[in-house]
Symmetry: none
DNA sequence: CATGAATGAGGATTCATTCAT
DNA sequence: GATGAATGAATCCTCATTCAT
């Protein structure tokens, strides 16, 4: 039982590292050195390597966390908004989150470009979340039924990529509106 | 007159380097070493540096070339197809080209993410090309007039990003269809 | 307390590097590669760069060390010898030290040729040391009062430059005697 | 006979290269590339290598030229000034020339530090020139006879080294005065 | 468990020199 | 003779990862 506090402290270190890495990636203009992440977390590099096998390991961990955060909002939106509004809100959420974080954009980016099982899972999670909000809107007849969540995900993944230049967010919102128009096109009961 | 052959050979080398770099970027899993580009082009690194000031210089050159290739097809399509079909064909072209080249995806990617004047120009060129095909379709009443070329470019830039996984191209085509549906939404004289 | 041995070992490495660099510069026929310094110190290049930001950093460090060594002898000479003898001994010291080291010659050389604050400090330190021994001799009336330490430093800096050819040291000693004759010229109470 | 103009042109090129190199070395903050010298001379690098075997060859040639220029002034001074004044003027000349040219300082510097026969010759030439002006002053009894030209040369070589910082020339002149005082010390018939 | 010093392969860039035209 | 493009060895510096304390 003497190791409880040790465990607790180790866990705290792990979380510090995750947070530090997330923040570092968000602010990143270029690549981040492991040493920088450790420094931000207030630990040594050795501690970093105790918690994460390799550089890629923490990238994956950060991505996973971000994606989970994002997907978690889908049920909440569905339970508080009408289906179409929930869909719209969710898509806009993707942009807002991206807007706040170069890191999230990178995350989505990598989710789409890698073969790693981690990213396949993340992709599945995102697609499921989109599927959930879309299903509700389809059922309500507000959007058409012949578009797959994968298609919408593909479209969104792209949008969130171009993060960072002036006017980016406005353009991204315009794309979302365009997509939604496409989704309502020939819907059973469009708004 | 004595320098003609020298110049010609040097120019050939420059082109070899560009081609080698393009192919290398296309195949790239990771970053390409200058030495690798030189080797593929059959020259020494010194020759590389005679033609391109720095690593970034050749990346820019390749991007510029790719974008020019792409934009060049817009007028051709417009002169051989009805406006809407030309638009559709042009958007699909973006995907096809990207499909053949991770490099083009990177190119579009970078076009969108960098402040470099080179990329600003490239972006302008792409937007102009899209504007041209859209204008024709708007005039014909087949698509609506209230969507800017920038919006469409933004959407496309994203799509071309996710290049590389199984099923990618099919999903990308689906996104294009969705976008086109959005563009026809409430058009004056939709097909 | 756990980090004492680490620190101690790191410090030993730093000193090995300084020593290795000093010896390498001393023996230098041409420029020294960082790798060579590291090899002589028995460490990897990475270790070099952990201790010295850049190539110039170690050059400065070596110079500083040499200059400090040299200046440190002035007070000792003053406390054990009559003023004029101390002056003479100090000037000869400059030569002796230089004779043992092309590196010291380079050091003085660079002290004089660079704008770097490090070298300005070193220059000041040397001038101060010379001023101290001269002041004593002036007070004793053995040398005249109208020559500044800067002038003597300038003269010495030059002498120590020509290091390395056969007969060098003898010629340098001859120059020192000549200078001392100049300094005694019209002195209040010359020897 | 048809090759006369060729020869003349080739000679002109050689001189352009020498002049270009001298100017480049004078202005040099760092090392000069062969290409830069060729560019300044308005020729290609190939032409450079037709005239100078290697990089060192032109350095030697420039040094030789500079030293010849300098030594040539000794007889002129001797024939127009009293011996002591000629000596003083010659030493000041060394400084003036150096002041106008970082290159000359480098030249003297190298003259003293290298084993190359070229530099041995140059050294001999300089020592001879100094010997000539000194001999006249010794004969006139204005300076003492027990100082060798080598000693004076050694002293001067050093002075000319510290070229370039603010106040340099004034300090150098002060050193010359100090040396001259040394030389007049106990002279048979000092001024 | 934590630390951070050490490692060293890796990759970009420079420049003296050669040689085909 | 002149040209300048090509060469590639040389060298600097970075950073992910290991391991002794």
């Amino acid at each position: 039982m003497a190791d409880k506090p040790l465990r607790a402290h180790a866990l705290r270190n792990r979380n510090s590292l995750l947070t530090a890495a997330r923040e570092a990636f968000d602010a990143a203009e270029s690549d981040i050195r492991i040493e920088e992440i450790a420094r931000r977390a207030g630990v040594g590099v050795g501690t970093f390597y105790r918690h994460f096998e390799t550089r890629e390991a923490i990238v994956e961990a950060v991505y996973r966390q971000r994606v989970e955060d994002l997907c978690g909002t889908a049920p909440r939106l569905l339970s508080t908004l009408p289906p179409y509004d929930a869909l719209q809100a969710f898509l806009q959420q993707l942009i807002t989150h991206s807007a706040a974080s170069q890191g999230m954009a990178m995350a989505l980016q990598t989710v789409m470009n890698t073969g790693s099982p981690v990213f396949a899972q993340a992709r599945a999670a995102m697609t499921d979340a989109i599927a959930a909000v879309m299903a509700a809107a389809v059922e309500a007849g507000t959007i058409r039924a012949d578009i797959t969540p994968e298609t919408v995900f593909q479209a969104m993944g792209g949008i969130c990529t171009s993060h960072g230049q002036p006017g980016w967010e406005a353009r991204a919102q315009a794309v979302v509106r365009l997509l939604l128009d496409g989704l309502r096109h020939n819907a059973a009961d469009p708004r």
